[in-house]
């Protein structure tokens, strides 16, 4: 039914498929999985999520057949939805060997992508060389040592690792990045610095994947083998990669088409890690039944894996190939010989001799015109010789001379061009060559008329080169020869040759006029310019051709793009390491970096957010309001609780900030005794009495169902007390230096706006630091649209709905300050609607009739407002916001240290360190964000000085739309050391939640630096 591709019935089909996905019959479920991609192709937005959900169900299936089909559906519907995989990862891995072969191919790829995305690359694998190039050479050396160890003294080749680096980088980079990299080599790998490496030995998921894919290397479906080999290539430790070699070579025995594909892949492998294939060079010997493409690939692989031990037998093979009837292949062989010789300089002499013999043999046969193939072989062999000579010209003097001698018998123009080029290039090499030069040139001049166009051009070039480095008696002859050649060339039929001749004539006009060497010297000064020019043109050639960059682009092994060598539509490089968003809290506690490497948008915005607090004001003001301290006696409050393993002290917090403390206020309704801890509690409460005041009776309703012992306390803290600590940070809006002595600073206030919930209140202070009176000070909103344009474009995409939503003014008009005396400070409450919770708002400050542009930076911590709630509501709401609505990060918190230290010598009441920590955390949170402290949980069983398990809960809702936003802070570590704090945010608005989380982590960390 899914085959009927009608939009109208697709909802019906979806329902049917959904039912079938839960059918008891395996076959029905499998068919349901098969139907999903068809449904998805209808491109109906509304059903996509439902389809993904069904895919998730099917992936979780027990039957291998269903999983295979589900994998296919997954690959075509939502290849990047890694959460679906993450949930079933283990199951999928275990079932993988039993999945039908076609499903295996896709499933392997999916799992690979998942592992890379969630765990990053493996430290021991080839991909890790990404880092070694920049970090140090030592790692490279280690690698080389490994290579040498493995292969018993095969010389280490450092250039390999560079290639490996290139290959592995290509796997991850998209095309766009590739282009930028080629333009700016310095910037390379900077984007991958964030890439995290995991150890294959310790990471279970990686190990599991490798374990499950290794039997697949024995599959009789070659596509499965190649896919599994790709996984091992990327993920497995370097010393284990060789496991893929034999299976890959085995596929070579299957059909011609797959042989070609496999060879394409082996070629890349062999270039990156030649030592893998070195012992198996025999497998790349060409058999006559191979197609031409396969033969050429085999040659290329052979030339890249050849070593000194295998070179002799490889050369024997090559000699056979040269006699192959397919001359194109023979020419390729000759080229391969050249490559081998360049790779193994020791063999260069043998190669050159062989090639020269070949040339002689070619020359013996007079029928070169008859077949193009012969000419190709000849040209190729001269190219090979040329490339060998280039490495060390002086060693091969005899070879060069021999080539000059054979010039007479070589008739193919391209070959002649090459030899003539060598005449010019190596004219000063050795002893004999300079002596021969005049003869050679004479010969060339003699046969100039009958040459092909390209040869004529090359003769002219060469003559100039020789002329430039000629000395003594030869000079005169050569100059004569040159002018003769020019005359000939000027009357040539071909205009290229004529042009070239005229050009040279102009350049050398002085040279030619003078004719006599003595005069040339005399006129040296005058001719400097053209000579220098000529020198530049002709002498620099060597250097230019010296290094040719590797511009190959590599694609994932086994992909179509690797075969056709361009990115096919739909090709995706490996996901960025560790890019997947996991809801596994444990993973997050490991790394802070990970979240920064999330999506690009998030990275961008969060980093922008962290920049903001730089302006943090110097003044730590008390938050203006004067609250009276109250004291009251701690009292008992009714409580529920059964267990004694954990205790919770609920701290309740409303805008007036009441922190309740764990204290003697515990009672035990259920009769379970808590006698184990009376002392502690006593201590705590004593301490509490001193600093924490006021009781809040019955602040939370008792619940019998709760299993944890809730010790509800009641010491309400005096606001004056905490007020000392809760300090709203102030930011400078205008510096006196820029504003003619007017200083403006602002701090976010926790008060709600009276006009609209979308407005954020700011307390703004205007201070006149100059000596003159200021008048008509006011802040107005500049054109509000510009705010966004100024912003980074990438961030614009994340702009929240706040921007478009309302027609509220950006800035509620401020009451104008008519005059400001020197030294006077005026306070105004600004009500501002920020367009975006990260981007600064552009305002204009009018003062004395002048206009000063200022930027108002938002603080996401004040885009929320506190919502009083109790513990149960909090937990209930939290449970309703799981998975993708939950984000966590961790950081270190050191703020408490100073105070803890202070306390240690003061008294023996160690337990109160908890209080200090709670206090400092809470005040830190409350002074940076407009939130409500719901509770503080403290582990009672905790060891001395161990703060692990302490957790604080805050609640709030987003200003505009009242979406609840829950924050939980959990502490780990020892009281007297920097604590590891993980912050968790549960919020339906993902972007907002993440930004808020980033902000929280930022101020938690940053504050520690300040204090």
């Amino acid at each position: 039914m899914a085959g009927i591709r009608l939009h109208v019935i697709s909802p019906l089909v979806l329902v049917a498929v959904g039912k079938c996905a839960r059918d008891p019959s395996v076959f029905v479920r499998k068919c349901a999985a098969n139907a999903l991609p068809k449904l998805h192709e209808l491109r109906q937005e509304e059903i996509t999520s439902a389809i993904e959900e069904i895919v998730g169900i099917l992936l979780n299936d027990r039957s291998p057949g269903v999983v295979g089909a589900a994998a296919a559906a997954f690959a075509s519907i939502c290849p990047n939805n890694f959460t679906l995989i993450g949930r079933n990862y283990r199951n999928l891995c275990q079932i993988l060997p039993d999945v039908e072969e076609w499903g295996q191919i896709l499933l392997i790829e999916i799992l690979l992508r998942y592992v890379v995305a969630s765990h990053g690359l493996v430290k021991e694998s080839i991909m890790s060389s990404l880092l070694c190039i920049e970090s140090s050479h030592s790692e490279k050396d280690v690698f080389d040592v490994n290579v040498a160890l493995e292969d018993n003294g095969i010389p280490s080749r450092t250039y390999d690792s560079e290639l490996v680096n290139l290959v592995s980088r290509s796997y991850i980079e998209g095309l766009g990045e590739y282009l930028t990299r080629s333009s700016d080599t310095n910037a390379r790998s900077s984007d991958l610095n964030g890439a995290r490496f995991t150890s294959g030995k310790t990471n279970d998921d990686v190990k599991l994947l490798l374990q499950c894919t290794s039997p697949l290397l024995w599959s009789h479906n070659s596509a499965v083998v190649l896919a599994a080999a790709g996984v091992h290539w990327i993920m497995s430790p370097k010393e284990d990669v060789k496991r893929i070699v034999k299976p890959l070579l085995f596929i070579l025995r299957s059909s011609g088409a797959s042989k070609y594909v496999v060879l394409c892949n082996i070629q890349v492998f062999a270039k990156a890690l030649p030592h893998l294939f070195v012992p198996h060079y025999e497998d790349f010997f060409v058999s006559s039944s191979d197609s031409y493409q396969s033969k050429a690939l085999k040659l290329e692989i052979l030339s890249s894996i050849v070593t000194e031990s295998s070179i002799s037998s490889v050369f024997k093979e090559f000699q056979d190939y040269i006699r192959d009837p397919d001359r194109r292949f023979a020419a390729d062989t000759v080229a391969a010989i050249g490559l081998c010789a360049r790779k193994l300089p020791k063999m260069a002499n043998t190669c050159v001799e062989g090639l020269l013999a070949l040339i002689r043999q070619e020359l013996l046969t007079s029928d070169i015109e008859s077949g193009n193939g012969e000419a190709d072989v000849l040209i190729q062999s001269i190219i090979s010789i040329k490339s060998i000579i280039k490495q060390d010209p002086s060693c091969h003097e005899k070879v060069i001379i021999q080539l000059f001698r054979s010039l007479d018998s070589i008739k193919v123009p391209e070959a002649r061009v090459m030899i003539i080029w060598m005449v010019g290039e190596y004219s000063s090499v050795g002893v004999k060559i300079p002596r021969m030069l005049t003869t050679v040139l004479k010969y060339l001049a003699w046969c100039f008329k009958s040459e092909a166009v390209e040869t004529k051009l090359q003769i002219l070039n060469t003559t100039i080169k020789v002329l430039l480095c000629a000395k003594g008696g030869d000079m005169w002859t050569i100059t004569r020869l040159f002018s003769y050649l020019l005359e000939l060339a000027e009357c040539d039929l071909n205009y290229d040759v004529r042009d070239r001749a005229r050009f040279f004539k102009k350049l050398f006009s002085h040279n030619l006029c003078s004719q006599v060497p003595e005069e040339t010297n005399a006129l040296q000064e005058n001719k400097d310019l053209p000579l220098v020019l000529v020198e530049c043109i002709f002498r620099k050639q060597e250097n230019l051709a010296a290094s040719e960059p590797i511009n190959d682009r590599f694609y994932l092994p086994g992909s179509l793009s690797q075969i056709v060598l361009h990115a096919a539509p739909g090709y995706e490089p490996l996901p960025k390491p560790c890019s997947s968003l996991c809801d596994d809290l444990g993973q997050f506690s490991n790394s802070i970096d990970r979240t920064t490497a999330l999506g690009e948008e998030w990275t961008g915005s969060s980093s922008n957010g962290t920049d903001d607090p730089d302006t943090s004001g110097s003044l730590d003001e008390e938050s203006g309001s004067n609250y009276d301290s109250q004291q009251s006696i701690p009292g008992l409050s009714d409580n529920s609780g059964t267990g004694d393993s954990a205790s919770e002290g609920d701290r309740n917090c409303d805008p007036l900030i009441q922190i309740s403390d764990a204290g003697i206020a515990c009672s035990n309704e259920n009769g379970a005794s808590h006698s184990g801890f009376p002392d502690l509690e006593g201590m705590m409460s004593k301490r509490a009495l001193e600093s924490w005041l006021d009781e809040q009776p019955g602040s939370s309703s008792p619940s019998a169902s709760e299993q944890i012992q809730v010790r509800q306390s009641s010491a309400r803290i005096s606001i004056g007390n905490i007020g000392r600590q809760v300090k709203a940070k102030s930011y400078t809006l205008l510096d006196p230096a820029n504003g003619n002595g007017l200083k403006v600073y602002y701090s976010f206030s926790s008060e709600a706006s009276t006009i609209s919930p979308q407005l954020v209140c700011l307390e703004t202070f205007f201070e006149n630091c100059s000596s003159e009176t200021m008048s008509e000070v006011t802040l107005v909103d500049e054109e509000s649209h510009k705010a966004l344009d100024l912003a980074d474009l990438t961030l614009a995409t994340t702009a929240s709905s706040l921007t478009s939503q309302s027609d509220l003014p950006t800035l509620v008009p401020m009451e104008e300050i008519t005059s400001l005396e020197p030294g006077q400070t005026m306070k105004r409450i600004l009500e501002v609607r920020f367009h975006h919770h990260l981007l600064p708002l552009k305002l204009a400050l009018h003062c004395n009739g002048k206009k000063l542009p200022v930027k108002l930076r938002p603080d996401i911590g004040y885009f929320i407002k506190p919502v009083p709630m109790d513990m149960e509501t909090f937990i209930e709401m939290e449970s309703r916001l799981p998975g993708m609505f939950e984000y966590a990060r961790s950081c270190t918190f050191t703020d408490h240290l100073g105070e803890v230290d202070k306390d240690t010598d003061e008294s023996s009441l160690l337990k109160d360190k908890y209080l200090v920590i709670c206090e400092s955390l809470a005040s830190k949170m409350l002074s940076n964000a407009n939130i409500f402290l719901v509770s503080v949980d403290m582990p009672v069983a905790a060891k001395f000085d161990d703060a692990s398990g302490l957790s604080l809960r805050f609640s709030s809702e987003i200003l505009g739309n009242s979406v609840p936003c829950l924050i939980t802070i959990t502490v780990e570590g020892k009281c007297s050391e920097p604590l590891k704090v993980s912050a968790k945010v549960n919020c339906e608005e993902t972007v907002f939640g993440l930004n808020l989380l980033n902000r929280i982590v930022n101020f938690l960390v940053e504050s520690s630096l300040n204090t």
């Binding site: 057949g65 076609w102 009789h220 479906n221 085995f250 011609g256 797959s258 010997f285 006699r323 739909g570």
Partner: protein, 375 residues
């Protein structure tokens, strides 16, 4: 165009095309987006295998005649661009292979479909390759070792490469759900192996034992490679000398290491170099054919006891060409029944869950694979 013809993967501006050529028929698959190319190629190979299995052999006329079956097969094998059922045994259950009875039936009843109505039982079972209710009067299982020898002998007569590519083919005619265990006497000689999906990986990893629930009927249990063999059963010594525009050729064939069984169906094939205008070849044993595309075939059959077969003759080179510089490569075919040249031996075959009356059979055969002699 000729260049394109030999390319397995062709990139056109809009599509990517995979192709394989089997018996003169080109199978094409095309895609517009990225996918594993081997998957396409492997699937085409399967299609070709199954078609030739159904139709007996593969040629244009057969495909035209059995168009309905070919279409039905493709319909079952691929769905929405993803391979669906490729296991030949299952397909056989769903779509009856053509035979005289079914043809008669379709003529009489006018019902041309031979797709079975019932769902094959295996699709629902945990062993998708085996039907659940198999019943045989005689329970038999045959294990064949089919080996192909790949060898390259270079111009100097040196054996450059010699290896065996072997397959264990099982013809299983057993009732119920049997569980078989096959072990080799000398598994260590195997260089590399590949398995049918039915083989369990664990026992092989630990003890090198093949443990499997077999599909019904004929199937390829495993394939293996044995490398670095030292000798070949026969020798081929070609000699080509050329002088003054003519070329003399002589090829000697003989038994080198007698494998103990007769070597038959020896065929020597080579492509004459393009520079040869005409050839006059005779042999003292067997027949020699030169085709118009300059492929020369010398069928020897068995090597007689009394004489060594040899081929000799002269060839005329192109005008202007004095000596021959490119040399043909000789492809040798032979077959030896009853011997597995790799030396692989089956130790024992244990069966579980099978009735008592049972016949087990073993066979071995070695053929020449890519056996090449360069001259």
């Amino acid at each position: 165009m000729l260049f394109l013809k030999s390319m397995p993967v062709i990139a056109s501006p809009t599509h990517y095309i995979f192709q394989i050529v089997r018996a003169g028929i080109t199978f094409l698959a095309c895609t517009q987006v990225e996918m594993p190319p081997l998957m396409g190629i492997e699937f085409l190979c399967r299609v070709a295998d199954i078609l030739s299995d159904y139709l007996g052999e593969l040629n244009e006329d057969l495909i035209k005649d059995n168009f309905v079956i070919v279409y039905e097969l493709l319909d079952e094998m691929i769905d929405n661009g993803f391979p669906l059922t490729t296991e030949p045994n299952i397909l056989r259950e769903m779509i009856a292979p053509p035979n005289i009875v079914s043809k008669m039936l379709s003529v009489v009843t006018g019902n041309s479909s031979n797709v079975s109505d019932i769902l094959p039982g295996a699709t629902a079972s945990c062993v998708p390759w085996r039907p659940t209710d198999v019943k045989y009067a005689n329970n038999e299982v045959y294990v064949d070792l089919v080996e192909e020898m790949d060898a390259i002998i270079n111009r100097d007569g040196v054996l450059v490469k010699c290896e065996i590519y072997g397959e264990v083919q099982v013809n299983c005619l057993l009732s119920g759900l049997p569980d078989l265990t096959l072990s080799f006497a000398n598994p260590s000689i195997l260089h590399d192996v590949r398995f049918h999906p039915c083989v369990r990986f664990r026992p092989w990893e630990s003890h090198q034992i093949l443990s499997f629930v077999p599909p019904d009927g004929q199937f390829k249990l495993m394939s293996y490679r044995v490398k670095k063999l030292k000798s070949t059963p026969i020798y081929v010594k070609p000699q080509l000398t050329s002088d003054a525009g003519t070329c003399r050729i002589s090829v000697m064939v003989g038994i080198r290491n007698d494998p103990g069984k007769t070597i038959d169906s020896i065929i020597l094939q080579f492509q004459l170099p393009p520079c040869i205008l005409s050839a006059d070849l005779t042999s003292n044993h067997g027949t020699v054919n030169v085709l118009s595309n300059k492929i020369c075939t010398w069928s020897i059959g068995r090597i007689p006891k009394d004489k060594a077969p040899s081929l000799s003759g002269t060839m005329v080179l192109e005008t202007g060409l004095e000596t021959l510089r490119v040399f043909p490569t000789f492809q040798v075919e032979f077959r030896i029944m009853g011997v597995a040249l790799s030396g692989l031996q089956i130790d024992k075959l244990d069966l579980q869950n099978v009735p008592n009356r049972l016949y087990k059979g073993f066979r071995a055969v070695t053929r020449a694979g890519e056996y090449e002699v360069r001259s």
